[in-house]
Each structure stands twice: as structure tokens, then as C-alpha cells.
């Protein structure tokens, strides 16, 4: 392993160091908006052209709603695993977590564990049943034996809420990234992302979206692997040497800002231990619950399980996805520490006051430049942008299907819409969603991306997750119970978030927050379960009888796949 790989890296690094001096000059200009980065623009243009070609080819194969929503159910478990990883590893993960590690060290790892542990839960409790019971949206599963309109309406609105918060976070991230890298104004960047996402989803449906996600996952994993490899190579593949150097750098920075020697040392060592992540134990547990159970309630992720032909492939796709995502978070950890050693010490990456140029989220981007000069900077920037596109495409498709499949076809038309109409509604929804996302993305330019993402997870864990779990696992669950519990969970999560510091104090200007924890999930999720249970057991309506009686059929199909959609196609 040592010689050829190491030599190749050394060569690449040697080649890459040359342009980096020129780059340093470019970065010394004081403007926030950077000069155009040509390698990034060329590489990104290549990605866009390649994905648009795929979209065009996919468009010729999209003939009906099944093709549009789920790529006809013909994606393999391995492909779907990569696509799920591509759908899930957002720019917030790549840029945000490496930035968190760059700033606070160890705390970033706590986030990573939270983002990973939802996957096993999703597999153990839901993935196979989801595939066996549903067709296009998770509402198919949640409403399987219930009265359609109320459950579907809840699921559709909850989907739209989660999708919108998640979309805003991605849009804001995209805008800031492009502003820094491509020298484009923020608004133009957001509009470009919106336009590309519309073309993928509108013309290519799930097939194009899947391939955009797969390509992005491969590029992102490849890039992150190379960066982590280069960082470790710098330290003779000794993590201890990497951490030791990072601690020295942080100690040096603390000493430079006037701390006494032992004080500086303990400040340096603090990156090896949990720190600011934990405001208080309640916040830690609550936020952990949002991450762990929210994953199993994200509509755009749940939708991916309908693209595979059967439960076996659904299972396989979770294993692949979990493996890739876990590997990616370990790489991110190395990249974050690499950034401490290579970026924090390099004045050309910093502003006069010692902050990162382009904002705190740019640690991984500057590291790319430190390792591989303009070329790697261009590649990583293009990949980060591609990452955002793949995630927004998945989100948009999920939002559009909630409107067309759940609200239009199932609630308004009671399942009797003419063939092709549902697909038309879905396509018409895509530009509308994009316009809303662009508008909100511009309006929320200053909003904290991590806050929006954690809110999306909290809503998913408090609404979608309890409703879905109880409907597929508990015989006694009724229409009224599911809807009441879901509404209570989502509403409480929203209200508590509004009363928490980021909104109540920062945005609304009140003196003190009424709810002072980082996540509402510890309260909203159990209350949702409790409400579902309480309302269901006290439900004496005629509908409740039908709901309970329907469980045997639902369970047979959930356990065996008998009668499941697409089952005849293979």
C-alpha cells in the first residue's frame, strides 16, 4: 500500500502546491465575494452538463406516475444505498460538521454519531414494512388501513413543513457557498440552484434524481477520502500525531490571544473532549432524540424505499447507506482536524481578526486549497455544490409527491383521478415549490443553517415518526389517534421552537426565552406517542372498528410482501 499510492499522492500534492501561491494572492483581497474560481466553474459546469444529459435520457423513460415518483421501482439495493447516502450527506454535513470540528474539535463527532444512529432504527423498525406497504409516499403506509383524507392531509402538510425547512437550509448554504467560490451574488446563486433542481425533477423525475444522487455520493466520498488520506499522509498515518499537532495549534492560538501558558494548554486540549455541544443534559438528550428518530421520519428519505423492487433490496440499501454514511463521518472527523492543523495556521485563509474567510462553514473548502491548491479547491467546491443540488432535488420530488399523490389524487379526487392527471399535478407543483424555496432562501439569507436542519429533524421525529411507527406496529391505532398524535407532536415541536432562544430572543427580540433547550423533541415526541395511544384506546367510533380490523391484512402484507406494489414486475 505504501509506495505507489504514497508516491502518487506526493506527485499530486507537488503539482498542486504550485498554483496555491497565486491563490493566496487572490484571497488577500478584502471583498467578501471572491473572484471567479475557474477550475471550480469548469468542473461544476461539467457536472451540470453530465447530469442534464442523464436527465434527458431519464425523461424519455418517464411515462407514468410510477416512473416519476419511484423510477418504476427498478433501482437495485446497492444503487439505492448510494443514492440514500447522496440524499442524506448534505452540504450541512460536509461543510457544517467539518467546520464544527475546526472550531470546537470533539463536538463535531457527537453530531456525526447522532446523524448515523437513525439508520439502524429505520431498518429494524420500518424499512421492509415501508417497502411492502407503500407505493410512492410514506403517507401510503401511514394511511394504509385508515380513513384516507385525514391521515393523508396530516402526512402531506407535515411532509411540506419538513421539506421546506430542509430546503431553506440547503438554499442558504448553496447561496453562501457559491458567493464565496464562484464570485456570484447570493441571489443569483440561489436562483441557479432552484432552476437546476426544477430541470432535474420536472423532466427526469426519480430516475434522474437517483442518478444525480449516486454521482454526487461517489464524487463526495471520493473527494473526502482523498482529503482525509492526504491529511493522514502528512502525519505518517498516525492519528495521535494529527491530534497532537491540532492541540498544539489551538494552544498556540490561545497563547497568542493572551492566555497564560497552562490556561492555553487546557484550551488546546479542550478539542479532545466534549465542550460547548452540551448546554445542559436535557438539551443533549432532546437533540439526540431528534437526530436518532428524525431520520426515520424524513419524507424524502422514506420515499427512496419505494424505488427498489422488494423488501430484501430495501434492507440491502440501508446497509450500504449506513456503511457509506458512517465512513463519510469518520472522514469528516479527520478533515476537520486536518483543517485545524493546515488552515488555522495559514494567514491567507483568515481575515484580520482571525476568522475564516467566507464564513465559518468554509473550513473544508480552505483545507482543499491547502492540500491541493486551486485544482482540489475547484473539485471540492464543485462537489459541495453538486451535493446541494442532489439533496434539493430529492426534497423537491418528495414535496411535489405529497401535493399530487396525497392531497390531489387521494384526498381531492378520492383515488379516482384520470391516468396521467396526477403526474401533471406533480410536475406543475415542482416549479411552485422551487419558487417558494428560492424566495425563502433569499429571505432567510442570514438564518443559521444548522438551526433549520435541526428543526426539520425535530418535526420529523415528533410527527411522521410516531404516526408511521404506531400505524405499522400497533393494532389498536385508529385514524383519530394517528391524526391527533401527529398534529399534537408537530404543533408542540413548532411552538416550543418559536419559544426557544433563536426565534423568541434573537428574531422576536424578547428578553428571555420561554423554552430554553436546544430541541423540543424530548417533550414533543413522547407526547405524540401518548396522544396516539390515549385517543386510539378511547376511540369508540365506527371508523375505529374498521381501522383495528384492517390490521391483520396490513400486517400480512407488511410481513410477507404479498400484494405489494411492483411485486409483479420482477
Amino acid at each position: 500500500m505504501k509506495s505507489p499510492a504514497a508516491r502518487a499522492t506526493a506527485l499530486l500534492l507537488a503539482l498542486a502546491v504550485m498554483p496555491s501561491t497565486a491563490h493566496a494572492d487572490a484571497l488577500t483581497s478584502q471583498t467578501e465575494q471572491q473572484a471567479a474560481n475557474w477550475p471550480a466553474i469548469v468542473l461544476f459546469a461539467l457536472f451540470v452538463v453530465a447530469t442534464l444529459v442523464i436527465t434527458r435520457r431519464a425523461a424519455q423513460r418517464v411515462r407514468n406516475a410510477s416512473d416519476f415518483y419511484t423510477a418504476g421501482g427498478g433501482i437495485t439495493g446497492f444503487q439505492n444505498g448510494l443514492a440514500i447516502a447522496g440524499d442524506y450527506m448534505s452540504a450541512a454535513s460536509f461543510l457544517g460538521i467539518s467546520a464544527q470540528i475546526f472550531a470546537d474539535g470533539y463536538d463535531g463527532l457527537i453530531y456525526s454519531t447522532g446523524f448515523l444512529v437513525g439508520w439502524p432504527i429505520l431498518l429494524f423498525l420500518m424499512a421492509e414494512r415501508l417497502r411492502n406497504l407503500g407505493s410512492y409516499t410514506f403517507a401510503d403506509v401511514a394511511s394504509y388501513r385508515f380513513a384516507q383524507p385525514p391521515v393523508r392531509l396530516f402526512a402531506a402538510f407535515s411532509t411540506l413543513a419538513v421539506v421546506l425547512f430542509y430546503l431553506i437550509a440547503q438554499m442558504v448554504g448553496a447561496g453562501q457557498l457559491i458567493k464565496l467560490l464562484f464570485g456570484l451574488p447570493y441571489e443569483a446563486a440561489v436562483v441557479i440552484v432552484g432552476a437546476l433542481m426544477v430541470s432535474y425533477v420536472l423532466f427526469g423525475g426519480m430516475l434522474a434524481t437517483t442518478w444525480v444522487q449516486i454521482i454526487k455520493a461517489v464524487l463526495l466520498l471520493g473527494c473526502a477520502s482523498f482529503m482525509a488520506f492526504a491529511v493522514l499522509w502528512n502525519f505518517g498515518f498516525s492519528p495521535e500525531a494529527l491530534f497532537g499537532r491540532a492541540v498544539d495549534v489551538k494552544t498556540g492560538l490561545a497563547a497568542a490571544s493572551g492566555s497564560a501558558a497552562d490556561e492555553a494548554r487546557s484550551s488546546g486540549l479542550s478539542i479532545m473532549a466534549p465542550g460547548g455541544f452540551i448546554k445542559d443534559p436535557i438539551s443533549a438528550i432532546s437533540f439526540g432524540m431528534a437526530l436518532m428518530f428524525g431520520t426515520a421520519g424524513l419524507p424524502h428519505i422514506l420515499m427512496r424505499f419505494f424505488t427498489v423492487p422488494n423488501a430484501r433490496e430495501a434492507r440491502k440499501s440501508v446497509l450500504w447507506a449506513t456503511g457509506w454514511i458512517g465512513y463519510f463521518y469518520i472522514l469528516t472527523f479527520i478533515i476537520g482536524f486536518g483543517a485545524i492543523t493546515l488552515v488555522a495556521t495559514e494567514p491567507s485563509f483568515l481575515t484580520g481578526s482571525g476568522e475564516l474567510r467566507g464564513g465559518s462553514n468554509m473550513a473544508a473548502i480552505h483545507l482543499a486549497s491547502a492540500i491541493g491548491g486551486d485544482i482540489l479547491l475547484g473539485i471540492v467546491s464543485a462537489v459541495a455544490f453538486a451535493t446541494i443540488l442532489a439533496v434539493v432535488a430529492g426534497l423537491t420530488l418528495s414535496g411535489a409527491s405529497a401535493v399530487s399523490h396525497d392531497i390531489y389524487a387521494s384526498v381531492l379526487k378520492k383515488g379516482t383521478s384520470a391516468p396521467g392527471r396526477e403526474l401533471k399535478v406533480s410536475r406543475a407543483t415542482v416549479p411552485v415549490l422551487a419558487a417558494i424555496a428560492i424566495g425563502l432562501g433569499i429571505a432567510f439569507e442570514k438564518q443559521n443553517v444548522a438551526f433549520m436542519v435541526s428543526l426539520a429533524f425535530a418535526l420529523a421525529a415528533s410527527g411522521n415518526f410516531p404516526v408511521l411507527l404506531m400505524s405499522i406496529r400497533w393494532k389498536g391505532c385508529t385514524t383519530r389517534g394517528a391524526v391527533a398524535g401527529g398534529v399534537v407532536g408537530v404543533t408542540l415541536a413548532l411552538v416550543l421552537t418559536i419559544l426557544s432562544p433563536p426565534i423568541w430572543v434573537t428574531t422576536l427580540g424578547h428578553a428571555a426565552p420561554l423554552f430554553d433547550f436546544s430541541s423540543p423533541t424530548l417533550f414533543s415526541m413522547p407526547l405524540a406517542f401518548l396522544t396516539i395511544w390515549l385517543v386510539s384506546i378511547t376511540d369508540r367510533s365506527a371508523r375505529a372498528e374498521i381501522d383495528r380490523a384492517g390490521f391483520a391484512d396490513q400486517n400480512l402484507r407488511a410481513e410477507t410482501g404479498i400484494g405489494s406494489a411492483h411485486a409483479s414486475a420482477h
Binding site: 454519531t113 429494524f124 407505493s135 473532549a273
Partner: protein, 120 residues
């Protein structure tokens, strides 16, 4: 793949098959079916409990005993918290693998055999 499938909406397709589906099968009442599905459910809940215990055990450690995680391993700077955190990630992947393996080797063949017996 199945592009000639009618764009009829999934629920109609499902509803067409569900009435008296269970009664027709006899499968739901078969003790072997009940045993295997119960076993699968118990296995799934056990693994869920294991994952929840590992993750929240870690989070509680982070919340209440950060000093334990901050302890260096040996004489270096690398803290105990690092293998713990990475260990949580790896345990998630490993538990997922355990479930997939058990499902492939035990649950799927057992249920497929029952399905064949009942002519599905």
C-alpha cells in the same frame, strides 16, 4: 422496468387485493408464521434497544461525565472519547449488518417457504 403499469394510483391497486386477504390465506393463523414473525419482531426490537442504549449511553456520558471522555489514552493527547464516538458509528453499521444477515439467512427463507406452501 414495469413502465406499462397503469397510472391508476397505488391504493386502488392495494385495495383490490386486501378484502378478506388474510382469511383467504390461512397463513396468518399458521403457528409457524406466527412463530417466525414474532421471532423477527423480537430480534428487531432487541437490536433497536441495543442501538438506543449505545447512543444514549454515549450521550449521557457526554452530558454528565465529559471528564471521563476527556481522559487521554496512555501518554498521548488522544482522548478516550474518540474511540467511544467512532465506536458508536461503527456499532450502528455493525448492528445493521447483523440484522441484514439474520434476515437473509433465517427470516426470508422461512417466510418464502411458507408463502410457497400456501400457493402465493
Amino acid at each position: 422496468m414495469n413502465s406499462n403499469r397503469e397510472d391508476a394510483g397505488p391504493m386502488t391497486e392495494a385495495d383490490g387485493q386486501t378484502p378478506s386477504f388474510a382469511e383467504r390465506q390461512g397463513l396468518t393463523a399458521d403457528p409457524r408464521f406466527l412463530a417466525i414473525t414474532r421471532r423477527r419482531a423480537r430480534f428487531a426490537w432487541t437490536l433497536t434497544a441495543a442501538m438506543v442504549a449505545i447512543f444514549f449511553g454515549y450521550i449521557l456520558l457526554v452530558a454528565f461525565r465529559p471528564d471521563l471522555l476527556a481522559r487521554p489514552i496512555g501518554s498521548g493527547v488522544t482522548s478516550i472519547g474518540i474511540p467511544f464516538g467512532i465506536g458508536v458509528i461503527i456499532s450502528g453499521v455493525v448492528l445493521t449488518g447483523i440484522y441484514v444477515r439474520r434476515a437473509n439467512e433465517l427470516f426470508d427463507p422461512a417466510i418464502d417457504a411458507l408463502r410457497r406452501e400456501y400457493g402465493e
